[in-house]
Subunit: 200 residues, 2 copies
């Protein structure tokens, strides 16, 4: 792409470093900013810098935080006997949105994926083992995506946690609410029959 | 969405003001920035502010520029007797990339679209009429997208330009290079037969 000016080239290069944004999309976003009020760009830039420089990861659960402990870990009303293990902070937000969980979290920062060169040592696992050793912890819920990487990571964690005094559970898998039997893949359908629950 | 901190909420709100980016994508981008080096965010923010505060539109053709006239309008080697009318600056970049055109441009900043509330008065048309009145201009090429809005705008411009001493042309429409006859829609195919060219 031939850029009309160096500033355009710089902004397109920087924006297209973001995941999932190519040069053409970056150019479209840059033109949008140019047409909008100057304050739109200044507000965007300062929000990015403020966020990046003042946000860190919770020392206990590795969730997004502004202080040493995140708002969930430091909330005494949460049930500290249960830890829900998730891939990243977006999963914490998704589970929080359900309003169905009152325990703590542990953000791994990824899943084991040999294809992407991510092994257990890249993940936030030692801190999880340390937390699981604490006598107040009774249950670890593995809430990882039901795919190859998620299943591998769950299996690895279950092996590492086996000597701790905690029960290990996994989120229920089955047919999603609103899903139709005939369009469900056979593995999900098979599992949903094997792991059937008492009708209430 | 429940945000873990105010800074996260601010950055997600600002990023999701960009066209085509929703809150979930904005959250993904914010997490990416948080995992990346702090300089990535600072470079991104300063590129945005630099671009927005130092870039303006060319006073003649309304293309992106750093000075009063853009690099194309101020280039004496370009053929100033031809003006190619386009919707926005991205079209200029696309045509420049073909290396097939050596004239000047005129960026309308949009097309007539009653559905989006954009009428002729929102577009950069008076300056085009002024440029077309200049005796050195011999041809106006209408290079607008072949859809309802583009065709409407081209028709409107041709009516406004009819009393000027310029010939008005339109970019060729037909079957794209690499396209297959049997999968081409009938309007395009019909036009490509009506507007057939001498075989060379």
């Amino acid at each position: 792409m031939n850029f009309p000016t160096k500033l355009v080239e710089d902004v397109v290069t920087e924006i297209s470093k973001l995941p999932g944004i190519g040069k053409k999309t970056a150019m479209r976003l840059a033109l949008h900013l140019l047409k909008a009020d100057e304050m739109t760009s200044i507000d965007l830039a300062s929000a990015i810098v403020n966020f990046r420089t003042k946000t860190r990861f919770c020392q206990s659960c590795h969730h997004i935080s502004e202080s040493e402990l995140c708002s969930i870990c430091s909330n005494s009303k949460r049930d500290s006997s249960v830890i829900c293990v998730v891939e990243d902070s977006r999963d914490v937000l998704a589970i929080e949105d359900t309003l169905q969980y009152n325990g703590l979290y542990h953000v791994l920062g990824g899943v084991i994926s040999p294809m992407s060169g991510i092994g257990p040592e890249e993940l936030n696992i030692p801190k999880l083992l340390e937390r699981a050793s604490h006598e107040s912890v009774k249950e670890i819920i593995l809430a990882l995506s039901p795919n190859m990487e998620g299943d591998t990571t769950a299996f690895y964690l279950s092996k590492r946690l086996v000597d701790k005094q905690v029960s290990i559970s996994s989120i229920a898998r089955g047919i999603p609410v609103g899903g139709e039997l005939e369009y469900t893949d056979s593995i999900t359908l098979g599992r949903s029959i094997m792991k059937r629950t008492i009708y209430q």
